[in-house]
Symmetry: C2
Subunit: 194 residues, 2 copies
């Protein structure tokens, strides 16, 4: 017998933190600071890895969803922050396509460049914009996480599919959380090392 459903639960602090914050983020920097702060909160609460992502309506800045890494607590190796934020937005809006007809353009904001898997997840999601605090091997050097093979031309591949990429919006802010995570000595869960 296998489970009837896959269930990926968000930690309870997310709803509390969202309730006491604005629902509109017109400025891009405020969107980036929100995901960096949630990446830190996920480490502080010991509810997953140091990653957070959020879906916004690109123009208005309305926050649609925010997700954090939930790999270890939910026993799902794909429960990266990009996956959780995108799926929460899609289930909230009732569509697998965040770029569907009649919808406002959506932007995914992440505290670091997506790994190989999440790079693909971004393409399938329907978002029109990907905004990143930073990218590159620094995350692997600091945390020990493996991000998998990555296309040298990843930005062009996204652009070719109608997704703009904004990078290096706050590298140092993101790296501070990765260092905090490293120093708190949490589990680094790359399955392939198992």
């Amino acid at each position: 017998m296998q489970p009837q459903s896959i269930i990926v639960e968000m930690p309870s602090w997310i709803a509390d933190e969202m309730a006491r914050r604005p629902s509109l983020y017109p400025e891009l920097d405020a969107r980036v600071q929100l995901v960096i702060e949630f990446s830190r909160l996920n480490v502080e609460h010991d509810t997953g890895g140091p990653f957070a992502a959020a879906v916004f309506e690109e123009e208005s800045g309305r926050l649609v969803s925010i997700g954090v890494n939930r790999v270890v607590p939910t026993s799902v190796s794909s429960a990266h922050a990009e996956f959780t934020a995108l799926a929460l937005a899609q289930q909230k809006l009732g569509t697998f396509d965040l770029g569907g007809p009649g919808m406002p353009a959506h932007q995914l904001v992440v505290n670091w460049r997506p790994c190989t898997m999440c790079f693909g997840a971004v393409i399938w999601s329907g978002v029109r914009s990907l905004a990143l605090a930073g990218s590159g091997v620094a995350v692997e050097e600091v945390t020990g996480f493996d991000e998998g093979p990555m296309f040298d031309n990843w930005i062009e591949e996204l652009n070719a599919r109608g997704i703009e990429v904004l990078d290096n919006l706050d590298r140092e802010g993101a790296l501070k959380v990765f260092r905090y995570f490293r120093d708190s000595a949490k589990i680094v869960y790359n399955a392939r090392k198992g």
Copy 2:
């Protein structure tokens, strides 16, 4: 407000079909035929795209989980068959790492080569073997699905992470289902076309 959890439900026919089948598949060909059959059943029942995947204990052939594509019915663009099969196995076994200490080696069997996203998902899952009915652009030519950019050296990338790849185990059998899907004119849900 966003949902507290992401829920990806399997169609009810899966449990029925599993109940009347063996739980052991010592022969690789029987594993491949099982996923091809489930890919067809998913189209027949109109419960998702023409893709199925299953996790087996590699040596004994014990079936751990079987998942199908659930993108449209669950409004989750990442709910590809590889994702669902891997997450079902991981939540059933209570671990994000199917290659963890003391566990038997696990094999993922799929009715076609994983897309970009699922290529990454396989790496993070902890499986030691990936067995495919077929690979290449034929699926895109027949169904219109975009599989995303793919590494030319995808097999070497998986091998380098301790995952063996067995390909072309039944191309024609898999393609038959893709043609059946095409001829039944189901939705092709690539978000980027939206």
